[in-house]
């Protein structure tokens, strides 16, 4: 057991993936000597050499497009996109090529590519450095999309993503990079919690029933847990589910919870319209229609471009906004 930040846990996970499979490559802007702007690849070039961990030219389409070619050649490239707002130049390669080549080939070609994207706000950054573009990728068949929310998951999920024979978009909540947790790195991947599965991260204590289900992923998991703690202090129990996998969605635990609580609230930083919350609300309504005591509510970023950093606390889902939604749900 060691105490690791999420950034370091990702770093350790990448290190282990490089050790386990000589075909794993790490490529991106500044991932070499600098170790990436968030230091997630710190020390990896020094230990694994410039052939396996290398800086690329500054062009995101080039990063992803050449990763496709490397994958065709039998490599397992792990691409780093420096910030969420800079993934768009690679969007064509991701959507039209990465997502579709296996299908286009009738199953003959596999593209085991991982595209890591630090995402989300709350770090006081300038424009284009705080976005949550996950829905664009979730909407694209052929891609798998996951997001870690804590160091333990980060350590295992990045390794599992690299082992996956499908392309994986791996979202890292940058506001959580520096949060620490005890991580047991001695286990094996086979024993790790499945990558494409959600997890109940807070249940009502035995003998008490929860009054609402909070559904979160990435940066908002901690917000939801915090809200649940405050609610518990006030005598109300909330269940919290960390989705972890955004495509495919694993909603069975959500349905199970909502059938008991009758209330569901989805929490994400991304803008509301057409976001994950809409999909989850739709599916929960289909599956839990007779159990619902209120419509599924969403606590999200608003439908505006990401605001200047001095306003981001008003934009992002906060503890109070989550609790407000719980109140609204209960009073429905």
């Amino acid at each position: 057991m060691s105490t690791l930040t999420m950034s370091k846990a990702l770093n350790e996970g990448l290190r282990r993936a490089l050790e386990d499979d000589p075909k794993v490559l790490i490529m991106g802007e500044d991932v070499g000597r600098l170790g990436g702007v968030f230091r997630v690849t710190d020390g990896l070039q020094k230990d694994f050499g410039e052939q396996r961990v290398f800086n690329t030219p500054l062009a995101e389409s080039g990063i992803v497009g050449t990763a496709v070619g490397l994958a065709l050649r039998g490599y397992r490239p792990v691409c780093e996109i420096q910030f969420d707002g800079f993934v768009y130049p690679a969007y064509d390669q991701i959507v039209s090529q990465v997502a579709k080549i296996h299908y286009r080939s009738g199953g003959l070609v596999r593209l085991p590519i991982v595209i890591r994207i630090p995402y989300g706000g709350g770090i006081g950054a300038v424009e284009h450095h705080s976005e949550s573009p996950e829905a664009y990728f979730v909407h694209t068949p052929g891609l798998r999309v996951v997001s870690c929310s804590n160091p333990v998951d980060a350590y295992w999920m990045i390794q599992q993503a690299i082992r996956t024979d499908d392309p994986v978009i791996f979202f890292e909540p940058k506001s959580r990079y520096w949060e620490k947790e005890e991580v047991d790195t001695t286990g094996t991947l086979a024993d790790a919690y499945p990558l494409f599965a959600s997890r109940v991260v807070r249940r009502a204590p035995a003998g008490r029933s929860a009054q609402a289900t909070l559904i979160a992923y990435g940066p908002t998991v901690r917000t939801a847990l915090h809200a649940a703690q405050v609610a518990a202090d006030e005598g109300r129990e909330l269940e919290v589910i960390d989705l972890r996998s955004l495509s495919p969605l694993d909603l069975a635990p959500v349905y199970d919870s909502v059938r008991r609580t009758g209330r569901a609230i989805v929490v994400h930083e991304a803008s509301r319209t057409g976001g994950l919350g809409a999909e989850i609300a739709s599916r929960v309504t289909e599956e839990c229609f007779y159990s619902l005591e209120a419509p599924v509510l969403r606590v999200t970023g608003y439908d505006i471009p990401y605001p200047p950093a001095r306003l981001e606390d008003e934009f992002l889902p906060t503890l109070d906004r989550v609790l407000d939604a719980v109140d609204r749900s209960e009073k429905w």
Binding site: L25, Q51, T56, P57, A59, S61, G62, V64, G65, T66, A67, V68, G69, L70, A71, L72, R73, G74, Y75, P77, P89, D92, Q93, S96, Q97, K100, I101, H102, Y103, R104, S105, G106, G107, L108, V109, R110, P141, G142, R144, T164, D165, D166, S247, P248, L249, D250
Partner: protein, 399 residues
């Protein structure tokens, strides 16, 4: 023999306006080994000795790929293909470069390289699968050393570059058995960011790749002047690697420059750009109408530079082939075309449930649920009687 280092417009007739970019510094020289009237030239840097058999084989290849291509156009006109992208006019560029490949080399085509595909020994029905709408064109790239067609213009050049980087990582450069990658693109694609990024990547990683630009003068209707002020071959020097302009209607020159560029790449000399000046004799695809944007006289000018005719003239002038040979080649091509046509017409439609296959290697419960939903929907028709059920699986539903 004459000196083949001619300027475009020297050994050839002067091209009409849209056929040559308005270059500030004049036309760059281009490599030509066979003039339109069939004269064999030599070149100090790019030349290859061809045996008589090789010359006859190149002729046969070009005739066959033109004939198979014509079948594609005909099948589309008869409603048997949704679309066809004709290679007509570009036979020399494709056969010359395609035959210059060594077995270990890898090809990344656009959607028009039916001639290269043929030279690779791949069943020529593959593009017809794509254009008939039966499948997206599944070719195993590693079996054939030929990637699937890429329809997004220019995207494949990055895949080719990454693949070439992988070749280098594998240590497969540096000797005669080294591997090289041949990436095709067109004059329109030269404006795409992906193509320019692939030049950057290939250059700084010293990747074993040859970029083969078939400058067929038009991106659908847009002439090459709207893509570039200077000849495309000049792009190479800015990115830091050699470039050569070649008469794209001269199969010998295309072969020679491609062989040389691939050999340099496989020996670790890094990337190479080839600009093959050619002309798309037909429409962009069967959906296009080139009479709206180019003149009959321009087309006629390029007919005078026909790639097949010039090799025929050369073979005839040297007594390397007689009428019996030419007749036999034409019959061979016709036979292959008939066979291809029959196979295209016999191609079964995919089954409705097939559309859910191969989205993911490792499957998806979400998608599985949708597959089951669709299966239940189909089954509902089956319960209404066999006639309806047959319609459901036979593609006879209303659309």
């Amino acid at each position: 023999m004459l000196d083949g280092q001619a300027a475009l417009g020297g050994a050839l007739d002067p091209p009409t306006a849209p056929a040559s970019a308005g270059h500030e510094t004049g036309e760059p020289e281009f490599v030509q080994l066979l003039t339109p009237d069939g004269k064999r030239l030599t070149h100090p840097e790019y030349d290859v000795e061809f045996t008589d058999d090789e010359l006859r084989d190149l002729y046969r290849d070009m005739v066959v790929v033109r004939r198979l291509d014509a079948e594609g156009t005909a099948l589309q006109r008869q409603g048997e293909l949704a679309l066809w992208a004709s290679l007509s006019g570009q036979e020399a560029a494709q056969v010359g470069s395609g035959r210059a490949l060594r077995p270990q080399d890898m090809v990344f085509p656009t959607y028009r390289e039916h001639g290269v595909l043929y030279c690779r020994g791949i069943d020529p029905i593959k593009p017809f699968v794509l254009f008939r709408g039966v499948a997206h064109g599944g070719i195993d790239p590693n079996e054939h050393k030929f990637n699937m067609y890429t329809i997004v213009v220019g995207a494949q050049t990055l895949h080719a570059t990454g693949y070439a980087m992988g070749v280098a990582l594998d240590g497969k450069v540096g000797g005669d058995d080294g591997e090289a990658v041949l990436a095709y693109f067109g004059d329109g694609a030269s404006s795409q960011g992906d193509v320019n990024e692939s030049f950057v990547w290939a250059s700084v990683f010293q990747a074993p790749i040859v970029f083969f630009c078939q400058n067929n003068q038009y991106a659908i209707s847009t002439p090459v002047e709207r893509q570039t002020r200077r000849a495309l071959v000049h792009r190479a020097s800015g990115f830091g690697f050699p470039g050569v302009r070649v008469d794209g209607n001269d199969v010998l020159a295309c072969y020679a420059v491609t062989r040389r560029a691939l050999d340099e790449a496989r020996h670790g000399q890094g990337p190479y750009l080839i600009e093959a000046c050619t002309y798309r004799m037909g429409p962009h695809t069967t959906s296009d109408d080139p009479t709206r944007y180019r003149t009959a006289s321009e087309v006629e000018t390029w007919q005078g530079r026909d790639p097949i005719l010039r090799l025929r003239r050369h073979l005839e002038s040297r007594g390397l082939a007689d009428d019996a040979f030419f007749d036999e080649v034409a019959a061979d091509a016709a036979r292959q075309a008939v066979e291809l046509r029959e196979r295209v017409l016999a191609m079964p439609d995919p089954q409705p449930m097939d559309m859910f296959n191969h989205v993911y290697v490792e499957g998806s419960p979400d998608l599985e649920a949708q597959r089951e939903e669709f299966a239940r929907y189909l089954a509902a028709f089956a319960s209404e009687g066999p006639a309806m059920a047959a319609e459901q699986t036979g593609g006879g539903r209303h659309r």
